[in-house]
Symmetry: C2
Subunit: 583 residues, 2 copies
């Protein structure tokens, strides 16, 4: 690859802008000059070897810059980020520039070999990995300190010099995507491959999960309708319904893992070894040698990280959960007080007062939620995770636990007053959070409220369309992020489905119909419920254990890759040994 860089010219007649950089107004000339020079400078000089053009706005301000790259540069970048593409022999392989001819659909004049989302991801990666060399400060801003290995873009962002970086939309492509996605009335699956080409794997996987989840809920919804319509309240029917729901929820989560493996294998992200990549820009540490890849990069002791996670973040989260429960108790007291007041002095004022506790609680929860989210982001960032996925997982876990408690702990008391659910729907990862909470309503209390799945299905069908519309029309285009799974959400859904076994068993045990079956002994009732619960849990775990996470053919393909790479290592070793003998 070393030679390729040398014959790479940054000049390209057809400049295709891919990414936008917005600098703060009044950014000093020398800073702009230095930054753009670093962007276009040769790799050998520590540059990103990209193309930059200023976009002169109506005001004449030069604060917006368009970034692009030559076709050759993008291909070399694809090698750097370790994209996996399909070969002519239908196997999936890590792309390298030298072996480009062996890849399917590759041609030197085929500029669509890389999807636009991939090109933008490459440019983002290259920009984020522009690292300081000898610079001690950002030129023109002596207070913005740099040290060797520090990500320049990261420092520019934290100093407020760089306002934002975002990928450009492509009107033509977007129009095509919109048409096939939600433009015409049709019954069918979403064009996941096209979504992936335009928005990247993370977004495509979200829509894939949303669609899968909706389909998977249909059997629950169909079975739930007669329970509601005929108001079946027999013990047997209830238990059957709940048991079906519990086992079904296990099955759908296991099957999703398999589908996810099939899809991400085709997209190449299943084989993409992101743990071997360069660290995320927010990661800091002293410059050292990565023990795995042997590359020079910032290193940070994992023991220090563990200490931060277990001795600081974990106690903090526990404290917040305790505090949140405490606030909830105060709310219940307040509400009781308002109720008592209303009963004693019934008037317009007192009936108005009935709403006050809920309003106060809603406001407090909202404030707590915001503060907590800010703290969680700060703590997770401070934990200094090397990989973006690991950062995301730890952040999601923190926010999830808090939201779960706030959302469902009150539910356990106040049943189905839904204001909380609406309230908690905002932030960065709302999409999965919403599905997660929905899954909670469907599975946790399925036997009390058999229509939950019906509403979930109806909601999700509209959700698919409204989310698609938002992605294409409302939101700024997000950067693609190659992923192979839905990450910690899988764990969250699985945990929820375990908890739902417990809640359903308790709810069934509490129902008057079941209580009537054990008129003499409450003890027998509880013991029976506990026995059933343990049996269901055992069946769940056995099922999760027995159903393989990846379909057999994907397993074979992965094993084949492992075998081939180990064989290649052996060959390499033998060649090296032979060479050392010759010397």
């Amino acid at each position: 690859m070393a030679e390729s860089w040398s014959f790479l010219d940054t000049f390209e007649p057809n400049f295709r802008p891919l990414v936008v950089i917005e600098l703060a107004k009044g950014t000093k000339e020398e800073t702009i000059e230095w930054f753009t020079k670093r962007i276009v400078d040769k790799k050998a000089n520590g540059g990103a070897q990209l193309l930059v053009k200023p976009l002169v706005t109506e005001n004449g301000d030069e604060t917006i810059y368009l970034v692009g790259a030559s076709h050759l540069r993008l291909l070399l970048g694809a090698e750097t980020v370790g994209l996996v593409k399909e070969c002519n022999d239908n196997s999936m392989r890590t792309f390298t520039y030298s072996s480009r001819k062996t890849f399917k659909d590759f041609a030197d004049d085929n500029h669509n070999f890389l999807t636009m989302a991939e090109c933008q991801y490459i440019i983002k990666h290259e920009l984020e990995n522009l690292r300081a060399k000898d610079e001690k400060i950002i030129p023109g801003y002596p207070q913005a300190k740099l040290y060797p290995g520090k990500s320049i873009v990261r420092r520019l962002l934290t100093s407020g010099i760089l306002v934002q970086i975002f990928p450009l939309h492509d009107r033509e492509e977007l129009k095509k995507l919109r048409h096939s996605w939600y433009g015409r009335v049709k019954v069918g699956y979403q064009p996941l491959d096209e979504i992936r080409c335009y928005f990247g794997e993370t977004i495509a996987l979200y829509f894939g999960f949303l669609e899968y989840f909706t389909f998977a809920l249909i059997p629950m919804a169909v079975i739930g309708i007669p329970y509601y319509v005929f108001a079946w309240e027999d013990y047997d029917k209830y238990v059957m319904f709940a048991t079906f729901n519990l086992l079904w929820s296990t099955v759908i989560l296991e099957v999703w893992k398999r589908i996810c493996a099939i899809v991400t294998y085709r997209w190449g992200t299943l084989l993409m070894k992101r743990q071997f990549e360069e660290p995320r820009p927010g990661f800091h540490g002293v410059l050292g040698i990565n023990p795995i890849t042997g590359r020079e990069e910032p290193v940070y002791s994992s023991i220090k990280r563990q200490i931060r996670i277990y001795l600081v973040s974990l106690p903090f989260v526990c404290l917040c959960l305790y505090f949140s429960l405490y606030v909830m108790m105060i709310y219940f007291d307040l509400e009781q007080w308002a109720l008592d007041y209303h009963e004693e002095n019934e008037s317009n004022f007192s009936s108005l007062m009935l709403f006050v506790p809920s309003i106060i609680y809603a406001v407090v929860i909202e404030i707590m939620n915001r503060i907590y989210r800010y703290a969680a982001e700060f703590l997770t960032s401070w934990e200094n995770h090397r990989l973006e996925s690991s950062y995301q997982n730890h952040l999601i876990l923190k926010v999830l636990v808090f939201n779960f408690l706030n959302c469902f702990a009150s539910l356990f008391y106040i049943a189905f007053v839904l204001f909380d659910m609406k309230l908690l729907r905002q932030g960065t990862f709302d999409d999965y959070l919403e599905l997660f909470l929905q899954f909670g309503y469907v599975s946790l209390f399925s036997c009390v409220y058999p229509l939950a799945a019906v509403f979930a299905v109806l909601n999700n069908i509209t959700e698919i369309y409204s989310d698609a519309l938002k992605m294409c029309r409302v939101y700024k285009r997000p950067f693609a992020e190659p992923t192979a799974s839905i990450g910690v959400w899988q764990l969250a859904f699985e945990t929820m489905s375990v908890i739902s076994v417990v809640t359903n068993c308790i709810l069934i045990g509490m129902s008057p119909q079941v209580n009537a079956l054990f008129p003499d002994s409450k003890m027998d009732l509880i013991l029976t419920v506990a026995l059933v619960e343990h049996l269901l849990l055992a069946i769940k775990f056995i099922m999760a254990f027995v159903i393989p996470d990846k379909p057999r053919d994907i397993q074979i393909k992965l094993a084949k890759l492992e075998f081939e790479s180990l064989e290649a290592l052996k060959q390499q070793q033998m060649k090296l040994a032979a060479e050392s003998l010759k010397e």
Copy 2:
């Protein structure tokens, strides 16, 4: 490697016998001639290229043959079976003949580079992989059919022509091992590395686990003694003891996985990819191409295997479990009847009659156990597993479930009548089974019988010495079997520790002291117990999830190997692409 085979000569002046082949008396001359020819024949002709010498016994019978191999042949065999050895740069790598000089302690005249156990394993592997080519029958035995790809040794064994194959002892080495293992009175660890060199990884891992397990039980034993001595029967102390035991058992099982990873990394078996090996000799199928390795070998549809496992073996095991429970019920009835009879007509005869049900039950259980084991072996063999480890795991699982039920189901009724435990100690995998049942006694009923751990520790200390003595003095030397873990036993111990949470909570809940704390409401008692149980289970699962299965440095080494092999594959790809361009 292809060239190496051609300059390999089967002649070696110093013949060192390693493995013994015993043929049946009166085996036909032509069969012996054909078989020995296949053993010594060149690889290219489908032979094993080993050395054979007949051992003329006192009777003049030529039924015992000694098998050896030249040093070069063994090295090439080490490459074939994929042994992993330490390199000069302290990394662990798959051994190849061409890169032999890069390995630690390698020298052409160092015949100890491979341990004796490894040499014998190589010879066993080569003998078992002697496969039929054009032969339709074994010469001289028209009824012993062969087909292309069928293991010759396997057919000879099933036809009764081959009586046994076993590795030879080495008196000098054995003496040294005995001395350092149990020959002198000393306090210290067992010489695991030496045991591994002589008996292979499976045996060494068993002794390692036995020793680890004994040490791990000591804290439980130490805490248990005062409970017994002072007959502490307070609720708090009981709960503390049980809670400690439950969490401790989780910790020791997790830590064992880490220790196991450390030890087997050093031994090279952690990196040995046994799933890429040739199939076990008992595996049959039509000749085809292995989709992973691309080698020609028998292939068998995994769906067919799944069908056999889930539609035949599983129902059969369930039926046997049901039958076994049924027999137990009859036994209890019989015993009740004998007791009634004794009370009504008290005499010598009637008191003798009291023992009859137990004797009958013991005999019936013994017979059932033997039949079941035979059936389990037949079924597992019929399931046609490709890997020896997978065969073993499925067999162990079947036998385990049956023994667990027989051993503990009666215990749940008849508490601590130990005859069953002794009774069930025989068969092939007694060693782990004994520890498993012991772990059951220690963890399942820890709060009722606090001395269980003390006896387990005392028993295991003698066990280490008696097992070592048996290995060195009594048993025939077993073939080494490279393994990286204790396989399905890990799962079995973990499952036991989950079940023990349930039993301990029930036992504590049933104790009169705890009952006295809830004088008014049995319901509150049960709910409290259930709550505590769920909390303990949750803590267990979180602990198992949070403690990494491999220590950080082993994780790094494994990731490094993966990275290097993927890089090597990339390099190979690039080279191939460059070559195809030149053409």
